[in-house]
Symmetry: C2
Subunit: 339 residues, 2 copies
């Protein structure tokens, strides 16, 4: 971003000439090597500033074999959670001097995942982070080992690769116990897509909390993260309710589906929380403005991204950090009430 036009390509030797030193000394200054006389460093720094010199990343990558870039492969980046995590990831990466290159999978196939990782390897990224991927793409992750560290964020609790994750089971249990404490006899569940490990974790947490409390475990309704699935679930649950089943509390695997359910209940004139209490998951910014404001389980997505980068850096330095899960938090609003 030079002051005006002039796409000059100036290199270390230009700086060296201006400062009256060798290009290697410039390299040392740029890379913060210790043994440079303060006066020399000063001179070089001034020359760099005057010329507006920026080292060429490609040349550096060629010789060092590292591009100081992290590759992010993900799908569903248009959803709140992954997008928020991307934000945390990028900021932490930049703070650590890394760039972020992103690949968005066209589908959840193993082939798509392989291709993305291959591209990143050819780009000499220093590490690959997989974020919120599903199904076969996850299997691909598990099966193959790349020549660079490969870390997983929000793809379940990984066995194969270093992983950063939110304790989904705990989050689900928080929701269920909250409803049970309010006096509800049981809690219905609308799941996420079956091939999402996060969704499966929430199902496990929901089921376990119910069993631990000695409450009956109703058949879960299958969803797909979308509001439409929540709407459909709402229809089916009001039907169950009309048939006399015990439907007074519903826990949905994310907030969008909760919105859809709220909408369906509203159409059916079922009162929330009067007739049915509803709990979501994620705490999207809008959840506080649903009608009624949604009780939900908050995940700190940005923290997830930051931890992802921390884990990458540890791997790069050869340290073997065992990360804790991020702990979700119940946010009580007005969509839940006594049975």
């Amino acid at each position: 971003m030079l002051p005006e036009g002039a796409p000059r390509a100036l290199g270390m030797s230009d700086v060296a000439a201006r400062a009256g030193v060798s290009h290697q000394t410039v390299s040392r200054v740029v890379n913060g090597h210790p043994n440079v006389a303060p006066a020399t460093r000063e001179r070089v720094l001034r020359a760099i500033a005057e010329l507006g010199y920026r080292p060429n990343a490609a040349a550096r990558a060629l010789v060092t074999g590292s591009s100081r870039t992290i590759g992010l492969v993900t799908s569903h980046i248009n959803q709140y959670g992954p997008a928020q995590t991307l934000l945390g990831l990028e900021q932490a990466a930049r703070a650590a001097g890394y760039s972020l290159s992103v690949a968005i999978l066209d589908d959840d196939s193993e082939r798509a995942m392989r291709e993305a990782v291959d591209r990143f390897v050819a780009q000499s990224v220093d590490a690959v982070v997989a974020l919120s991927t599903y199904g076969q793409a996850v299997d691909a992750l598990r099966r193959f080992t790349a020549p660079v560290p490969l870390i997983a964020v929000q793809v379940g609790r990984g066995e194969q690769h270093p992983t950063v994750w939110v304790d989904q089971e705990l989050g689900a249990a928080l929701a269920v116990r909250h409803l049970l404490d309010l006096g509800h006899r049981t809690v219905h569940h609308v799941t996420g897509p079956v091939d999402s490990l996060e969704a499966r974790g929430r199902v496990r947490g929901w089921r376990r909390a119910l069993i631990e409390a000695g409450a009956p475990v109703p058949e879960p309704l299958e969803g797909d993260w979308m509001a439409s699935a929540g709407y459909a679930a709402g229809r089916r649950l009001t039907e169950r309710r009309r048939r006399g089943e015990d439907v007074t509390a519903v826990f949905l695997a994310n907030d969008q589906m909760a919105l859809g359910l709220l909408n369906a209940l509203n159409e059916e004139s079922v009162s929330v929380p009067g007739d049915i209490s509803v709990v979501g998951f994620d705490d999207v910014p809008e959840a506080a403005y649903y009608s009624p404001p949604l009780t939900t389980v908050r995940q700190d997505f940005a923290e997830l991204g930051r931890r992802g980068v921390r884990l990458v850096l540890c791997r790069l330095h050869g340290e073997d950090l065992l990360p804790d899960p991020v702990v979700p938090q119940l946010i009580v609003r007005r969509s839940t009430g006594p049975a």
Copy 2:
């Protein structure tokens, strides 16, 4: 992603040796040069496949000065629109053989924008795309010329750099005319942040449509894209209404704010669309499940991304394409009704 461990770094000469040709011939095959004998090409291709060779992007970037990478600089990537555009951008870029490197601005300052572009230039990106940036960061875009093409997506209708944009004025006019046609005497407006060019476009379109129809132009309420601002606006509008002002129709600069407004009206027991009609902007996937389902103006964000890449490629080939605006579309649902 090699079958097993072994981070071998194999180069063209390895392939060349295996195929019994020179490394240059391998280079020609890899880059699809015309003058290679079919038999030779075949042999080289087989050697590449057998060895699992991938050309080293850094070396290529060093010698060609191009990394086949597009730099994306943006803020607010966690919002639906930008995230969706990112998706279109990445897919189109990948289809054209480009990678996408992203930088997310910490704030909308000129400094942040400069730094991001500088980093990209040092990375030898082939082009920089600015997506949905605001305020001073936009001024920075306008003022400086980078040594690479710099194109703007969804940052108003650019004068300085090639731009891809949605016709915001038209979209706003669509919303206003729809409400006016329903018999409303005027339409109130809740704006986006003042330093967003898109938000300003919507204000202009709203005002113009009102004036053209001879309707009074009420004082717009200032928002910031967030549901909370819509909620606050809802409070203020019901107040105006109680004071006897003509408040029967509201157009909000995005759907999140519309949700907040809906929530406020619901709390005040103001019926939508019975008492007040509401129109949003964006058509986020959830809008169809608000209560009531929201009438809104749809923007094709993914198309925006695809056009962005198309524009980048044109610039890179020296062509001078003048892009049309993307045309938004009114989606009528149940939040609007006769006055």
